[in-house]
């Protein structure tokens, strides 16, 4: 595994894996870590880290959603470029097999595909409504706000990218819980996003124990939606109960889905009645 190799007498400079909060790579405020793959320490995010991540995401929503659709598309496309550029690193993280190449391909493809949706979504999903009265009435999709994403354990890279990309496409800011058993691709993806011109706080990535973080994410009053593609049925039940506290949207689309309907699952429809007259 990466970080553990020690070839040709060279003493490798190992990477410290960190959380990604508000555009910065930080250790867990709790100072805790859990051991992964023998000798890699993964930060064990805490409730306070989660709080910081939600706060960062909340702060980033208005700026990110106010970007032009084209600009958001360009940034998502840039993320695809950065990911493709680090292909070798991700393939190694994922196990260096043909399947790993395919998974990186699929993840890049997901980013490119959703990059192209940012400036088409309102045309396909929105509407002008022929109301009986002197009003120009239209309906447009808007981001729901802060979205919690519980990444599936497998596939560790594309599983996550296929959930993040649609939520980002719609202009939301994210708090991502990295897979507990396979955290490295998610934590490394943060490095890709950090170099993609994505404003700080738009994506925050936490590693740690799911059991510890999930209840706080599900019940947090400043989180607007949770994607539960990576959850067990029992976890979904618990999340749905806690989500009711602030009427969170619980997004349950199938794990591998790629569709504009998944983008709108993280969005609200706004209808405006504009007067017509001289």
């Amino acid at each position: 595994m990466p970080g553990a190799k020690n070839g040709n007498g060279r003493v490798e400079v190992r990477k410290t894996y960190k959380l990604f909060i508000n555009g910065e790579f930080v250790r867990s405020e709790s100072g805790r870590a859990y051991r992964f793959d023998g000798n890699i320490n993964i930060p064990r995010g805490s409730r306070k880290d989660l709080r910081d991540a939600v706060r960062a995401a909340r702060g980033a929503v208005s700026g990110w959603s106010a970007r032009t659709a084209m600009n958001r598309g360009q940034i998502l496309y840039r993320a695809a470029e950065m990911l493709d550029g680090r292909r070798a690193q991700f393939v190694e993280l994922l196990g260096s097999a043909r399947a790993a190449h395919k998974e990186v391909d699929d993840a890049v493809e997901a980013l490119v595909w959703y990059a192209g949706w940012t400036d088409k979504l309102a045309q396909v999903i929105g509407a002008t409504n022929p109301v009986s009265g002197p009003y120009f009435n239209f309906t447009i999709p808007e981001p729901t706000g802060v979205v919690g994403i519980i990444a599936p354990e497998e596939p560790a890279l594309v599983g996550l990218v296929r959930r993040m990309a649609p939520a980002l496409c719609g202009g939301n800011a994210l708090v991502v819980l990295a897979p507990e058993q396979t955290p490295l691709p998610a934590l490394t993806l943060a490095e890709v996003l950090a170099t993609s011109d994505l404003p700080a706080g738009v994506v925050n990535v936490l590693s740690g124990f799911r059991k510890e973080l999930l209840p706080w994410l599900a019940s947090h009053m400043d989180v607007n939606a949770v994607d539960v593609a990576g959850c067990t049925p029992d976890e979904v039940t618990e999340i749905e109960k806690a989500a009711a506290d602030n009427v969170k949207r619980v997004v349950k689309h199938a794990a591998g889905e790629m569709s504009p309907y998944l983008i709108t699952a993280f969005m609200e429809m706004k209808t405006v009645w504009h007067p017509v007259g001289v």
Partner: protein, 490 residues
């Protein structure tokens, strides 16, 4: 003008004599006792419990209705489940024709429905006659046309109906909410078990008669009456695949919790605390009418009511003067009188809730204004009320009152208006009053609310999607978007 020279308080005291103009009720027949509408006919219930539904304007009993129990709800759901196969496989154009029929019969029996709505719920006849019933008919007409066009509604997806929809509706717009629930459900090929509100079951029971008159296949629509317990039985029944609820945020959260892990589809249309924002360039007289319509329409029993007036500081004084003047001319009284502006509060419980919140406003330090207004001796009444000197932290500025009570706050800059308007866990609607089109759209972009009205308020249309952000719920009703909650897209 001489009128402008008189103190507004004097003007407010003026009485305008109108002769009584009561709507005829002799053409309306209300049964002394109703059963349940299950499997295409009115049936005797298993439940032995009945409860009275009263006219809130007179406190007189109109009829006795059933408090449906577990067995009754199970019968209704089974009838709907049995009807689902036939209804969902019916040639779509035929399904459309039945729904068109429902719309037409509502139009034909419009006055009867309006009178029953007003007697059972307390709303002014001019509102039930000119708003509730025509919109209900229009809603059925709109969705009837979708029934054979579903393949065109959602790009690259095949629409499939879900099964039995369990629907629970509120007492503020009984027939209209029934239409919002049943019309898209039927158009999409689902069957329905609907529970009307405890205090306003009669128009739904009249609608049962309309279903029979339309010869709607048995079991496609089933109506069970009762209170919260019955509603909970409907939404938690294992054969119900889709739940739609309109009502309070509190109950909406309970329902969401009770459905956790069941895989049932859910849409919620919950409470609100909408800001109605008036800029200094707004036409003041029009804005005053809009404010009145925003909060005093239907006694303020409106989830999207403009209950927080945000007025730009520079025009606060003249606007409030005009508004107080206008409040003095609102006619409160017999809901069946065609001149009545403000009818009866829907129930004693609701009246007590309004009184409690208004009291809290006075205690917290807000300044109350009520025009001189004689309340009838019997029935449940509350005069149009406005509060000035309101702080954002007061309960009257935070909690949904669901009554004719307006909280007035001021702002200086557009940014401040945005911040105050969005400073609420709700997000159902907002209003903006200004002469500037660009400002309307700038504000509309920033309102965290599902519906934004500009230079108007409380306007509805079957083609126009309606629903909330944040704790005002999720899912949309109306328009193409209103079909989505009733379809599986494969």
């Amino acid at each position: 003008m001489a009128i402008a020279k008189r103190a507004p308080t004097d003007l407010a005291k003026q009485t305008f004599e109108y002769a009584p103009a009561p709507e005829a009720i002799d053409h309306v027949k209300i049964e002394p006792r109703y059963g349940l509408f299950i499997g295409g006919k009115m049936v005797a219930p298993h439940s032995k419990k009945h409860f009275p539904t009263i006219n809130p304007a007179t406190e007189q009993k109109l009829s006795d209705v059933v408090e449906a129990d577990e067995v009754d709800v199970d019968h209704a759901v089974k009838a709907a489940d049995k009807a689902f196969e036939g209804w969902s496989r019916l040639t779509p154009s035929r399904r459309a024709r039945y729904i068109f029929r429902l719309s037409r019969i509502i139009q034909e029996r419009a006055r009867e429905l309006a009178v029953v709505e007003t007697m059972d719920g307390g709303k002014p006849i001019k509102e039930s006659r000119d708003v509730d019933i025509p919109l209900a008919a229009a809603h059925f007409f709109y969705y009837a046309g979708w029934a054979d066009k579903l393949e065109w509604a959602f790009a690259n997806r095949k629409p499939r109906p879900l099964g039995v929809a369990g629907q629970v509706i509120p007492w503020n717009f009984p027939l209209l909410m029934l239409a919002w629930k049943i019309a898209p459900a039927l158009a999409a090929g689902n069957t329905v078990v609907l529970k009307p509100a405890e205090t306003t079951p009669l128009s739904a029971l009249l609608f049962a008669d309309i279903c029979m008159q339309a010869e709607l296949p048995p079991g496609v629509v089933n109506i069970v009456t009762g209170g919260g317990k019955t509603g909970s039985l409907v939404v938690t029944h294992p054969a119900v695949k889709k739940v739609a609820f309109t009502g309070s945020t509190e109950v909406g959260k309970l329902i969401a919790r009770s459905l956790a892990g069941t895989g049932k589809r859910l849409t919620l249309e919950l409470g609100g605390k909408a800001a109605n924002i008036v800029f200094d360039d707004a036409p003041l007289d029009a804005a005053v009418e809009g404010i009145v319509n925003g909060i005093y329409f239907n006694q303020g029993h409106v989830c999207c009511a403009g209950s927080r007036l945000l007025v730009q500081e520079s025009i606060a004084e003249p606007l409030l003067e005009k508004l107080k003047l206008r409040l003095g001319t609102l006619r409160l009284g017999d809901p069946l009188d065609k001149n009545t502006d403000i009818g009866a509060i829907n129930s004693k419980a609701q009246l007590e809730k309004i009184e409690e919140l208004v009291e809290s406003g006075v205690e917290e330090g807000a300044q109350i204004y009520q025009p001189e207004c004689k309340l009838p001796e019997r029935g449940f009444w509350f005069p149009p009320t406005l509060f000035t000197n309101v702080s954002q932290s007061y309960r009257i500025a935070r909690e949904e009152i669901f009554g004719p009570v307006l909280s007035v706050l001021t702002f200086r800059t557009p940014a401040e208006a945005v911040e105050k308007a969005n400073n609420t866990p709700y997000g159902l609607s907002a209003g903006v009053w200004t002469d500037k089109g660009s400002r309307i759209l700038w504000m509309a972009e920033r309102m965290r609310a599902g519906v934004v009205w500009a230079n108007t308020f409380n306007r509805f249309d079957p083609t126009s999607p309606f629903g909330g952000y944040k704790e005002s719920g999720f899912g949309r009703e109306g328009g193409r978007h209103g079909l989505m909650p009733y379809l599986e897209l494969v």
